[in-house]
């Protein structure tokens, strides 16, 4: 008896251009009917589930020069969209200067095979509210470069997401993630809560704090899986910014996170649980970030 795949992929057409312009020309022509294939760890699962049924797959992995991690002239960082998670994990530069981004590759993406296959651009473009690479990047005020057939724009990552699985991409390819220089005495931390190691998170959070002595000069807090898109916890940030950082202040500020988030109940957690845990997570991560800045 022949072996029967439980979930064969529906028929589609395929193209694997080696030039970005060629990929964009096809994407420009086909629009919604085409899907970009990077690591495939989200796309092929969606296609097997029939959640999406593209007429054409545009594999962009043959396009050279989209897999890199390099410091920019201004002293920030540029990451190519096709950089696999494993490279981010192994980068000494990222471990040293952007520890929360490094942590997202150790506290999430546990599967070695997935780390080898999944790309950072794919994690962003999939636009899951639970994407683990997004909160750290949001705390760095990262931007993404989106290239279309006749256009090129830079969008603040925070403004990229429109809803679950929805983003601002309009027949465009995300080519690069740009992190501006992180000024001052920074402390960073990230955590992702999962039921089992290969699950999507119930909740994730990244914090970046800039300290001058004991005063918070600036702070960014980003959370995932607690709203339709990854979000900033601006109420918490306001409470801490320009203040002397004490345990009492951190306690008071972390309570405010419930005003920033709008979690839902789903298979992974209840809304009430997510609210309670967000408070704890924000409190712990602010403390950890403060400690690391000192």
């Amino acid at each position: 008896m022949p072996f029967i795949m439980k979930r064969p992929l529906k028929k589609f057409e395929y193209v694997a251009p080696s030039k970005l312009e060629d990929a964009l020309a096809i994407l420009g022509k086909l629009g919604e009917k085409a899907a970009i294939l990077a690591g495939g760890t989200d796309l092929l699962v969606f296609m097997k589930d029939r959640a999406i049924m593209p007429q054409c797959i545009i594999n962009i992995k043959n396009i050279a020069g989209m897999d890199y991690i390099k410091e920019t002239e201004e002293g920030g960082l540029a990451i190519g969209a096709l950089t696999p998670i494993i490279k981010i994990n192994e980068s000494k530069l990222i471990k040293q200067k952007y520890p929360s981004l490094h942590e997202c590759t150790t506290k999430a993406f546990h599967s070695w095979q997935i780390r080898n296959m999944a790309t950072i651009g794919g994690n962003i473009c999939r636009s899951s509210p639970a994407a683990d690479a997004v909160p750290p990047l949001m705390t760095y005020d990262a931007e993404v470069k989106l290239v279309g057939q006749k256009s090129e724009r830079r969008v603040l990552l925070e403004k990229f997401f429109l809803g679950p699985n929805k983003n601002v991409l309009d027949r465009e390819i995300l080519t690069e993630i740009i992190i501006p220089p992180q000024k001052g005495n920074c402390g960073m931390a990230f955590e992702s809560m999962k039921r089992v190691s290969v699950d999507l998170c119930k909740l994730n959070c990244a914090v970046k704090i800039v300290l001058e002595g004991n005063t918070c000069k600036d702070i960014r807090i980003a959370l995932g899986a607690v709203a339709p898109t990854p979000i900033r916890a601006k109420k918490v940030e306001e409470t801490v910014r320009d203040k002397e950082v004490t345990d009492e202040l951190i306690e008071k500020a972390s309570q405010k996170v419930v005003e920033d988030i709008s979690p839902i109940t789903d298979a992974r957690s209840t809304a009430e649980y997510r609210k309670q845990v967000s408070v704890v997570m924000v409190r712990r991560l602010i403390k950890q970030a403060v400690q690391r800045a000192k």
């Binding site: 795949m5 439980k6 064969p8 028929k11 060629d22 495939g40 070695w112």
Partner: protein
């Protein structure tokens, strides 16, 4: 640029160059099993979560259920069949270690664990292999029989046999 629905791709599978005609919607696992007769690679969840379909592509462990065969054009693929000596059929030290240390029960997950172990030990030279490293390496592989203790013991024994310190 023209789109395609079929192509004859060149792959090097277990050291042997081959040409195989694939439909673009066929995943590598299916082509290995059905077109190349290499049924050692197992298909469990078909969605990236169990690791049973793990093969090494250019030396890196990847999931053959989430890679299109056509994406593998020109690549070197190693499956569980490629572990033993092609001349004598003698098992690879990793396979021997799994047999000697009861590293499986039903065996369905075993090809995936063997391939991850191969990649781990290939990468590792000299320094001591820690339990933590082993656990991290196999985090993407599920054993439904729950034989993790023996799997970890087998991996340590394999490291020992291959003179990768454990």
């Amino acid at each position: 640029m023209a789109t395609i629905t079929k192509k004859t791709v060149k792959l090097t599978v277990n050291g042997v160059e081959c040409e195989v005609e694939v439909d673009v919607n066929e995943v590598l696992a299916k082509v290995l099993r059905e077109k190349l007769g290499l049924t050692g690679t197992k298909i469990g969840c078909e969605s990236g979560e169990c690791g049973a379909c793990t093969v090494l592509i250019d030396g890196q462990p990847k999931l053959s259920c989430l890679i299109l065969a056509i994406e593998c054009e020109g690549k070197k693929i190693l499956t569980v069949e490629g572990l033993s000596d092609p001349e004598t059929g003698k098992l690879h030290p990793i396979q021997e270690a799994f047999i000697e240390n009861f590293g499986f029960q039903c065996g369905f997950c075993t090809p995936g664990f063997l391939m991850v172990t191969k990649a781990l030990l290939d990468k590792k030279t000299g320094e001591k292999l820690t339990d933590e490293e082993i656990r991290l390496a196999i985090a993407g592989n599920i054993c439904r029989c729950g034989d993790y203790y023996h799997i970890i013991e087998s991996i340590k024994a394999a490291a020992e046999k291959m003179k990768r310190f454990s």
